[in-house]
């Protein structure tokens, strides 16, 4: 695995300069040409100006994690290089406008603007860039035609033609650069899907039967909202842009009550406003699915950056005590799968279910072989005249009816209530109801999504991670390929299976890897299992770990 070949391209420029278009087109062209592709971006909290960058990795084997190294840097504005200085090595080739790149070692001055203008307008600069990159990787020309056609088809033939011309022009230039690019193509990659984290979550939700979203825009969670809105007509999804997050969460709960499968998509600050509603969901046992795309806090923090700082937030959200389920996907496949599963679990266990992602995961693109169709499981019953919404059962789960379906009435109450949902202050009923609700935790554990071990099964050193960091950690461990070293990834971070303890107690040294300042998952493990969790690799500058960085940290920890 150590010889995995990766060619890393970074595009850097101001917001509004079209890096995203280049990313979109070029990753598709690369993938359709048979390369494994990975792309991730980082951007400032502004619509124009500033400095953003996108990393695109082209590789023979699948690669799905941020790398520090840059083989080829394309700079579109003047302060790009300074921001990336510590990622530029002696081997980095830098392409860009002469006055931006001239002072650099391996620089190739190319004026995208000039070339574009020579084609009649400055607006083709991005197309020229796409062409140059396509030339470098030796992309298939028929693929380029198709991708461009698809992308611009609604704009008419002229636009298509002009862009194609610009790309071909760039393509020729790219070829002539003779850049040392030695990645193998793989025919099967063409059949893959290319998608990003937001799309994976949205597709997962749809597979899980989602038919209602109410949300209030907030980076980085808006994209999931937008994806579901796009799918509204095709899949019959009710879409409500709420006046605030409180409305959004209460609507989602109301929607579940009425028989829908509803989600809210938000970030930490927006979620902080939903906590009372989460408690309501816990009490009335009407589910809610929450997608929370994490970004660095506190407060507004770094609104377009990444962090894993809101595990504690969802773990303890809402006043009072009640069960909940928290998923944290590492990969797009997992984001898809868990987002679907969230709806089945929510329906079955009648608790709030969280899908915890982050900006890094949501904005990461790559080719994915296959997303399985998930069976939508519904647990709604038809009510009878004497229906009791909160029937005391051994499992703690009471059959859930919805209004208008059956002869009964469905009565839910945020006060403590009896089996009929009627308000009560009887201390015995209170205790029975608390116990009933809490019993559901055991049921959830019976179907827990198990942690995943990777690496040497006879490990002495065990690295522990969750969410998007796990994927980066996995590639680091894979590439280091050291004996006695393994990792465990937790797709379900709460509740945790008993088996966790066995995994951990087998290790000589356990190290937690998280993207937050306090090691929130380590704290949870310590709370649950009492083991020493003091070895922690933490990062909280708003940027993801790189594989290189983690490799070093792992070596230091051994």
């Amino acid at each position: 695995m150590k010889d995995k070949k990766i060619f890393s391209i970074v595009l850097s420029g101001a917001a509004g300069q079209g890096i995203q278009t280049v990313e979109n087109l070029f990753t598709q062209i690369a993938k359709e040409s048979g390369y494994n592709v990975y792309a991730t971006k980082e951007y400032m909290s502004r619509v124009r100006g500033g400095n953003n960058s996108t990393e695109i990795l082209i590789s023979s084997k699948p690669v799905r994690s941020f790398r520090k190294k840059i083989d080829l840097l394309v700079v579109l504005n003047n302060n790009a290089i300074e921001r990336l200085r510590d990622r530029i090595s002696d081997n980095t080739i830098i392409i860009g406008e002469k006055n931006f790149v001239s002072k650099e070692k391996n620089s190739i001055p190319i004026s995208l603007l000039e070339i574009s203008n020579s084609l009649g307008s400055s607006i083709y600069a991005n197309a020229v860039a796409v062409g140059i990159l396509s030339g470098i990787i030796n992309a298939e020309k028929t693929v380029i035609d198709e991708v461009i056609y698809e992308y611009f088809k609604e704009k008419g033939e002229e636009v298509i033609d002009n862009n194609l011309k610009a790309i071909i022009k760039g393509y020729e230039i790219g070829k002539q650069l003779n850049i040392n690019f030695q990645i193998e193509k793989n025919g099967y990659v063409k059949k893959h899907m290319l998608l990003n984290g937001s799309q994976a979550v949205a597709k997962g939700a749809i597979s899980g039967g989602c038919n209602f979203i109410s949300s209030y825009p907030m980076s980085p969670a808006t994209a999931v909202f937008t994806e579901l809105a796009k799918a509204s007509k095709k899949y019959n999804i009710i879409v409500d842009q709420a006046e605030d997050e409180i409305a959004a969460a209460n609507m989602a709960i109301g929607a579940w009550y009425a028989g829908a499968r509803a989600i809210v998509s938000t970030s930490g600050g927006g979620f902080a406003l939903m906590e009372e509603a989460i408690s309501l969901s816990g009490m009335i046992e009407t589910p809610i699915v929450v997608h929370l795309g994490q970004r660095p806090g506190p407060a507004t923090g770094l609104p377009t950056r990444t962090e894993q700082g809101d595990l504690d937030l969802v773990l303890y959200a809402g006043h009072g005590t009640f069960p909940r389920i928290i998923f944290a996907p590492a990969s797009l496949e997992e984001a898809y799968y868990l987002s679907a599963k969230a709806f089945n679990f929510a329906d079955k266990f009648q608790v709030p279910v969280f899908v915890l992602t982050d900006q890094y995961l949501l904005d990461s693109f790559y080719n994915v072989e296959y997303l399985p169709q998930i069976q939508v499981e519904r647990y709604i019953i038809k009510t009878t005249k004497d229906y009791k919404r909160y029937e005391i059962t051994e499992s703690g789960i009471s059959p859930r009816g919805i209004p208008g379906y059956g002869e009964g009435v469905v009565r839910v109450d945020s006060d403590e209530h009896d089996e009929f949902g009627h308000i009560t202050e009887n201390p015995k009923v209170r205790v029975d109801m608390v116990n009933k609700r809490m019993r559901k935790l055991n049921e959830i554990l019976k179907e827990v999504i198990q942690p995943v071990l990777f690496g040497d099964e006879n490990y002495e050193y065990l690295f522990i991670s969750w969410g998007s960091t796990s994927q980066i950690l996995k590639e680091a461990i894979e590439e280091l390929d050291i004996e006695k070293v393994a990792m465990i990834h937790f797709p379900q971070v709460y509740p945790l299976p008993k088996e966790t303890e066995n995994y951990l107690s087998k290790a000589k040294k356990v190290v937690f890897v998280e993207q937050n300042v306090n090691g929130q998952f380590a704290n949870l493990i310590r709370r649950e299992f009492g083991i020493d969790t003091s070895n922690r690799i933490l990062k909280y500058d708003g940027f993801p770990f790189s594989v290189e960085n983690l490799k070093e940290k792992i070596k230091e920890a051994l």
Binding site: N211, F212, A247, N250, A255, I402, G404, V409, I423
Partner: protein
């Protein structure tokens, strides 16, 4: 006409004070349901928290007794998901105009086909007598010892300003008027506000049964509720409160008409 009895809850101990205006509203609501022959499983009452919000505890229909201030988002969602249900969002003045003020203004904009019944006792009843948004200026309360010193919220004027589709006010002591308005609102397509003036005999010693009678008048039969300017003028008058359907805008589009239908069972 259905019997009012079918909406009764067995063994329910009603938690309101003797003489409270809420009893009247309870009867008016049940009577309106029975006159419209609504079967219990067809109706959902969504309420918040407060004395008024206890209402659905005493009515045998579907109930969503949720959070303080959050009736309208829940009711809107239920209606979107299952438009065949009759959805009533019912709560107090504090719940609807205080904690829930943002939902109030934005639900009017969305215009889902729901009925919003506000028990307006001009006080926070359940928390023992603090000023609510509608407490008149100068009234002394259990928290405002020197009397309220901010202007009261004018729900009718705000609803008209937002071009709401059905804006009514009534006094619970006028049973027929109240029943008629509830029925009209249920039959109206779009968001309907009914602000029901209600005495709180325990904490509001100012806005009594007597006070409401003396400070209100019923709009004449020939009053045309479709003129927005007139409606606003009427709404502006806070000396003498008009009762009846103050503003009606039947041209407004309904929220759920823009949304897909989803399969429920």
């Amino acid at each position: 006409m259905f019997s009012v009895k079918i909406y009764d809850i067995s063994n329910s101990d009603i938690a309101w004070c003797p003489g409270c205006g809420n009893f009247g509203i309870l009867n008016e609501l049940k009577t309106a349901f029975s006159e419209l022959e609504l079967s219990p499983n067809q109706v959902v009452i969504v309420s918040g928290i407060g004395q008024a919000a206890k209402m659905p505890q005493y009515v045998n229909v579907n109930m969503f007794n949720g959070l303080h201030g959050r009736t309208l988002p829940v009711a809107t969602a239920i209606k979107l998901v299952n438009p065949s249900l009759i959805v009533i969002a019912e709560s107090g003045d504090g719940c609807t105009y205080g904690e829930g003020g943002n939902h109030f203004i934005h639900t009017i904009r969305k215009n889902p086909n729901i009925v919003n019944i506000v028990h307006d006792n001009m006080i926070y009843g359940l928390t023992k007598g603090q000023a609510s948004p509608t407490t008149p200026k100068g009234v002394k309360t259990t928290l405002q010892f020197d009397g309220v010193f901010v202007d009261p919220f004018n729900p009718i004027a705000v609803a008209v300003a937002l071009n709401a589709s059905f804006v009514a006010r009534t006094f619970m002591g006028y049973t027929d008027l109240t029943i008629e308005l509830i029925k009209k609102a249920i039959k109206h397509r779009g968001y309907s506000l009914i602000d029901i003036l209600q005495p709180c005999v325990t904490f509001n010693k100012y806005n009594t049964y007597q006070w409401y009678k003396e400070n209100t008048y019923i709009l004449p039969e020939d009053y045309d509720p479709t003129d927005r300017k007139t409606a606003f003028e009427i709404a502006m008058d806070t000396e003498k409160l008009a009762l009846g359907l103050i503003y009606l805008n039947e041209s407004k589009e309904v929220y759920e008409d823009f949304q897909p239908r989803i399969e429920l069972f």
